[in-house]
């Protein structure tokens, strides 16, 4: 069992050593935080890749015991629950009653607090926007002793600042959300092969018209026209009422027991994986009916898969480039191609590269990441060469007027951040003076200095 003082981020890079780790047990019992003490930051399940959930030399507040339900109206699908509850645990409770979370990321192991703080998005962004759009209320506890109810109508500034606010505005103690009604726990899904990046984007775009959930895995290890060929995965919840909400087949789960040697995931093995993954699907279109678990959370079946990256850890890069339908998207696609080539030349092979098209539904969050356009997300082992290549990619993203997702970032420069998030100027006024994170010190407070 891991020690409670062990609070890494998912990418295991950068490393951080908090001065103190406190486990919060009851939401009513918050300690008083003073600006004179070490800075404080809440930590859910540590699924952020970079350093938004890290607080080197500071105090970490673990929230996983704050998992009580305050109120659950299962007729209307409204639930108010403490911020430490995970989406996975919430789903076990609500799916049998015919409800789902309105937005889910690629893992069920994130807390509701984390979902709000990063204003997460999912495969259905083009339909429903980010998580923040479905938040009816939350309570924010701050170092001045206040416990503020934030809703779209009350304390609206704090509401907007906290959604996507990276945990910097204070401690979120509970969150109330509107759930999504479902009649089945099964998804009708289709996987469609695409032969080039352009085709991948086109099919993704077509899919968005008829499918609620779309995401496209692409092979970034290919050279030539095949770079960016992929599999478009799309799905809708089954609408047949006769499909049981209660059946629950636990699939096989594996676990990576310890940090693996760094050579395990290397260029060759990743290239092989990509080829096998694409090749495994023989027909152009494959249809399946799957339980929600493997559809939304394929990687969750391998516990601690991040350990496959070894001690040096991994870098995760997610950017988005704005653009409306058609021309804008294809322009973004061309920029993507340039980035993928730069990364290839730097020897960065990725096995989890995905693209998606964001819709135009705005988020209430001030610092929210998604805008209408195309987003690319990929994982890479950590290396100096790759760091340099990513800086070049940053320049392309900036040129296109895009931005990088803080929840995944471990290395963007302060100047890049400021250029990508001009709203940070307004946001910083809402940061609680006793709260800070390694991320924020890196991109804002300590501009230029070491965190």
């Amino acid at each position: 069992m891991t020690n409670p003082s062990d609070v890494p981020s998912w990418g295991n890079y950068p490393k951080a050593e908090p001065r103190e780790v406190k486990t919060l047990v009851w939401r009513q019992d918050q300690p008083t935080w003073s600006v004179a003490d070490a800075p404080v930051l809440a930590y859910g399940m540590g699924r952020s890749y970079g350093d938004v959930c890290l607080n080197n030399d500071g105090t970490i507040l673990r929230t996983e015991l704050l998992d009580h339900i305050l109120f659950y109206d299962h007729q209307r699908g409204i639930i108010r629950v403490e911020a430490g509850m995970s989406i996975g645990a919430l789903l076990e409770l609500i799916v049998p009653r015919g409800w789902f979370v309105p937005v889910t990321p690629g893992t069920q192991f994130v807390t509701l607090g984390g979902a709000v703080a990063n204003d997460i998005h999912g495969k259905n962004h083009h339909r429903v926007g980010t998580f923040g759009r479905h938040v009816r209320a939350f309570e924010l506890v701050r170092s001045d002793g206040s416990a503020t109810l934030c809703t779209p109508l009350d304390n609206t500034d704090l509401f907007a600042a906290t959604i996507g606010g990276l945990g910097l505005t204070g401690l979120i103690t509970w969150v109330e959300i509107q759930l999504l009604p479902i009649t089945s726990r099964y998804i009708k899904s289709e996987s469609v092969k695409a032969r080039t990046l352009e085709e991948s984007i086109e099919i993704t775009q077509e899919s968005d018209a008829n499918w609620d959930y779309t995401v496209t895995w692409i092979d970034v290890t290919q050279t030539g026209r095949g770079l960016g060929k992929g599999i478009v995965q799309r799905g809708n919840f089954h609408d047949q009422h006769d499909m049981s909400l209660l059946e629950h087949t636990r699939g096989v789960t594996l676990s990576v027991p310890t940090i693996m040697p760094s050579w395990l995931l290397n260029n060759q093995s990743i290239i092989l994986f990509n080829a096998a993954y694409y090749g495994k699907q023989r027909r152009r279109v494959v249809q399946r009916t799957v339980d929600y678990q493997p559809f939304f959370y394929p990687l969750d079946a391998i516990h601690h898969w991040n350990r496959l990256y070894g001690k040096r850890g991994m870098l995760q890069y997610q950017c988005m480039m704005p653009g409306g339908v058609d021309e804008g998207v294809h322009r973004g696609g061309r920029a993507l191609l340039r980035m993928l080539k730069i990364l290839q030349n730097a020897g960065a092979a990725s096995f989890l590269a995905v693209i998606k098209l964001f819709g135009d539904l705005p988020s209430p969050g001030m610092m929210s990441f998604p805008r209408q356009g195309i987003t690319l997300s990929l994982d890479m082992p950590y290396s100096e060469r790759i760091l340099r290549a990513l800086s070049k990619c940053d320049a392309i993203v900036l040129e296109e007027g895009g931005r990088i997702y803080p929840a995944k970032d471990a290395r963007m420069s302060a100047s890049t951040f400021r250029a990508m998030y001009p709203e940070a100027e307004k946001f910083q006024a809402f940061i609680d003076p006793a709260f800070s994170s390694s991320f924020w010190r890196r991109v804002w407070t300590n501009e230029g200095k070491q965190p």
Binding site: M1, N3, H68, Y72
Partner: protein, 272 residues
């Protein structure tokens, strides 16, 4: 995940009691938890089929026990009444049984889950603190357990689950006040169970090793540390099979059997 617990309280010892099930809204399980805010108690309550369960939750802190009650109600519990009391007040113990009778008519399962893990270093030189911890961990447990046992013996029987610890199996200088209390309740409850089993009262003594809870928040975890959810699972199995003592996980039974026979001269030298 929920578990159905079969109890045979209805058929015990020819005692016939009018069971106004309709008044209880069909509550198959009528559960009292003393120390309802403890991590193991919460995990156990969540593991039950709450749609058929009604609770009386007893704890020291009103805000905390209200949180637990609201959570169980949201999970479908038929009722969750609370009682706020400090177990060190002896006159509260009879009151607990009275309230339980009012609210649940006749409880089917009573869990005694309260306790404190004091800092032995502080207790080493503070006799009053030692006795105070013994009052909480041993005296109040004995008092409450015996009272509920006597009540249930006259009202159709049921199960009483007492949370003890492997720390009670052999005295160690790092934790002897806590260990003494646990030893006392293990001993007492085993005898109590033997005495009243023919009246349909099943007393289960639970002896976990370290469990990942706020009680040991400040201590490092080891490979022997288990989770509250796992302890809950083992408790449910033991209630079903009417086992009287369980070690959680199972290997503690054998570790403690060995530790108990190590000669004292040697044992005192080991730094545990």
């Amino acid at each position: 995940m929920s578990t159905t617990i079969e109890t045979e309280s209805e058929h015990a010892a020819g005692v016939s009691i009018s069971r106004p099930e309709l008044d209880l809204g069909g509550a198959r399980h009528r559960v009292v938890i003393v120390g309802a805010t403890s991590a193991i108690a919460q995990a156990w309550a969540r593991s039950l089929d709450n749609s058929r369960t009604k609770y009386l939750l007893i704890a020291r802190n009103e805000e905390h026990v209200k949180t637990v009650a609201a959570d169980l109600l949201a999970r479908g519990a038929l009722g969750a009444d609370i009682m706020v009391v400090d177990v060190r007040a002896r006159d509260s113990h009879a009151e607990m049984v009275r309230v339980a009778q009012n609210v649940l008519i006749s409880p089917t399962i009573v869990m005694i889950a309260h306790g404190v893990l004091p800092d032995q270093a502080e207790l080493d030189t503070d006799v009053d603190a030692t006795l105070d911890s013994f009052l909480t961990n041993a005296v109040s447990v004995i008092s409450i357990t015996q009272r509920f046992t006597l009540f249930m013996a006259e009202h159709g029987g049921g199960s009483i689950v007492v949370l003890s610890s492997v720390a009670g199996e052999r005295s160690r200088k790092s934790i002897y006040a806590y260990g003494a209390a646990k030893s006392a309740i293990s001993h007492f409850c085993a005898g109590l169970g033997a005495r009243w089993e023919d009246k349909g009262v099943h007393v289960l003594v639970v002896k976990p090793g370290p469990v990942d809870t706020p009680m040991i928040a400040h201590r490092p975890r080891s490979f022997t540390t288990t989770t509250a959810a796992y302890v809950a699972k083992r408790i449910n199995a033991a209630i079903k099979s009417k086992t009287t003592t369980i070690y959680v996980p199972w290997f503690w039974r054998y570790i403690m059997a060995t530790i108990r026979v190590v000669p004292q001269k040697i044992f005192r030298k080991i730094n545990i």
